[in-house]
């Protein structure tokens, strides 16, 4: 079961604070979408509006073309996997997973079979009689997923579900979530503030900031071609070099660069891994200030000779042999020029 979700001009205020500014978003059936942003950006509010826990001040929510704006949670084809799992402590795992079916009036035997099937899917089939407190964090996580999926929802909402897990387990659960989503085909709407998690699971990432959508696209688009300085910075580390238009090219502290710039000027954004000893864009000579080994790469700070106060961060490959003080020619690839942030 799967469905299309459509937010139409959703506007929401908590008292005097505006959490969402006329947000429009369409989510395709079967899509794994991630709402990404810092805390307070409105992503959780948007999820709560979709789940029916919050009624928006203005705007409409459509699921499969039907207006659901004022329908309570139990009337919606959505279920939620909560941040703290919200399992029922007094019930066995089987009863937890079967709860939604019980509320839908499914008879005991079929609902137990279905619960067992879902527990098998998440690898906890042998623990059906246990209580939630006997499980580890990762296992509770899986039970919460099984419980939410047992009623075959059209849309599954995931509210920072992996936040409480350690890094290794989080990676593993990301892979599992993605695999399970492929298998059941349900539309997944996942909220997180972790951009690596977003890229690991999403078909499409919606970057949010201060109640607005900054950028919406595939992980590659959002990471490599960010639409705004905010989304560029939020998706990962970025070197920012102010540039102004000059003739056909750009003027920067590094000297003239062969890049088209709008008349208002802008910011040249370069990812650290896109700066090195080869590339399409020559950045001129620079002196290595210091370096650190990070396992997957060397993290280096360079001071361009033409602008000694500027620092460029570059990630150089493991094999690179470098000593501080050396002067090298730097090049960059994948340059992106973005307009200055609007004075907000």
């Amino acid at each position: 079961m799967t469905a299309e979700v459509r937010f139409q001009a959703i506007h929401h205020r908590f008292g005097t604070f505006t959490a969402l500014h006329r947000v429009d978003l369409t989510i395709a059936p079967g899509e794994f979408i991630v709402l990404l942003g810092p805390s307070g950006c409105g992503k959780t509010t948007l999820l709560s509006i979709l789940g029916g826990f919050v009624t928006p001040t203005q705007g409409k929510v459509l699921i499969n073309g039907k207006d659901m704006t004022h329908v309570p949670p139990r009337g919606r084809p959505t279920t939620t996997m909560f941040q703290d799992y919200a399992l029922f402590p007094h019930m066995s795992l089987r009863d937890n997973v079967a709860f939604g079916l019980r509320m839908r009036g499914v008879a005991k035997t079929p609902r137990r079979d279905r619960a067992q099937e879902m527990l098998d899917m998440v690898g906890l089939g042998d623990k059906a009689e246990r209580r939630p407190h006997e499980l580890s964090g990762g296992q509770r996580q899986r039970v919460a997923l099984a419980r939410a999926l047992a009623v075959s929802p059209d849309v599954l909402l995931l509210d920072e579900p992996l936040g409480a897990l350690d890094l290794k387990l989080r990676r593993q659960m990301q892979d599992e979530l993605k695999a399970i989503q492929r298998r059941v085909g349900t539309t997944f709407v996942h909220v997180t503030h972790d951009q690596e998690e977003a890229m690991a699971v999403a078909d499409r990432i919606v970057v949010m900031n201060q109640g607005r959508i900054e950028h919406c696209g595939t992980p590659e688009e959002v990471y490599l071609h960010p639409a705004s300085l905010f989304s560029a910075g939020f998706m990962g580390e970025m070197n920012r070099i102010p540039v102004t238009a000059k003739g056909m090219g750009a003027d920067s502290p590094l000297g003239a660069l062969p890049l088209p710039v709008a008349s208002g000027g802008g910011v040249l954004c370069l990812r650290p891994e896109n700066i090195g000893f080869a590339g399409e864009l020559a950045l001129g000579p620079a002196r290595l200030v210091d370096t650190g080994f990070f396992g997957t790469h060397h993290r280096c700070h360079f001071a361009p000779l033409s602008a000694p106060d500027l620092r460029l961060v570059a990630h150089l490959p493991q094999g690179a042999v470098l000593e501080p003080g050396r002067e090298v020619q730097l090049y960059a690839s994948n340059p992106v020029i973005l307009p200055h942030e609007a004075a907000a």
Binding site: P73, R74, T79, M103
Partner: protein
């Protein structure tokens, strides 16, 4: 220092338990008065008390009033706490204060108020009116114990239940009440205890059928007797049994 602290402990317990101890000891007094010296051991007073029809009727009345009023106070307190925990009304602080307010009013004042109200609406003094009085004093207790036990964890589980399709009564009966079981039991048995030995309201609001404290009081009017000690000891035994059972079942569980 060790000796001092032990001595302090012993003194403390003596202070708390000496009156009850004396009551129990002199209930076995082989004589007409429950005062020293102790003249010998007899179970005669217990036999007399158990054979006393009025006393046994009062015991049964107390039992009815205690359990009936506590059950009602528990249900009302649970519903009030659930409602106030779920929605933030503009005046919810005031509402909570209003619900707890009767706790701060003396039982005598509450009894006088109830007496006048019952007179005005034509309800005769009876076990029923006493029971209503006990609901008035125990509802704030039940409400505050249950409300305090509702945490963020609870709220999220209730949200999850609604999300999975539960109706409000199902949320309350299948999720909220079982999760709050220790608090519900504590509130219920505390209410039973308070109702069980409440005197002033029962005294003013009963007439022909009386509760045990009122019956004991009328026995005392004809002077001290080891028989009153015996009935007191029996009541004490019941209370201790309830507390010990609770301690070993519910409260132990909720701690783990």
């Amino acid at each position: 220092m060790r000796i001092l602290s032990w001595a302090y402990l012993v003194l403390l317990f003596l202070f708390i338990l000496l009156p009850v101890g004396a009551l129990v000891v002199f209930s076995f007094q082989d004589g007409r008065l429950p005062v020293p010296p102790f003249k010998g051991f007899t179970l005669e007073w217990y036999a007399k008390v158990i054979a006393d029809r009025d006393l046994m009727a009062a015991l049964w009345n107390s039992f009815l009033v205690a359990f009936g009023s506590s059950a009602l106070a528990l249900v009302l307190g649970f519903l009030a706490a659930s409602g106030l925990a779920r929605v933030a009304l503009p005046g919810s602080v005031l509402l909570r204060g209003l619900l707890i307010a009767p706790m701060t009013v003396s039982y005598l004042i509450i009894a006088l108020g109830l007496l006048q109200v019952f007179n005005a609406v034509g309800v005769r003094p009876s076990l029923l009116s006493t029971g209503i009085g006990h609901v008035v004093i125990n509802l704030p207790l039940c409400f505050s114990i249950i409300y305090a036990a509702m945490g963020e964890h609870q709220r999220n589980a209730l949200r999850a239940a609604r999300d999975l399709g539960a109706r409000e009564w199902q949320v309350l009966a299948l999720i909220s009440a079982p999760m709050l079981a220790p608090a519900l039991a504590a509130a219920f048995f505390l209410s039973v205890t308070f109702s069980w030995d409440e005197f002033i309201i029962a005294f003013l609001l009963t007439r022909f059928d009386v509760t045990l404290p009122v019956e004991i009081w009328s026995m005392l009017r004809s002077g001290l007797s080891p028989a009153t000690n015996a009935i007191g000891s029996l009541v004490f035994l019941v209370s201790v049994a309830v507390v010990v059972t609770l301690e070993f079942t519910l409260f132990r569980k909720s701690r783990s």
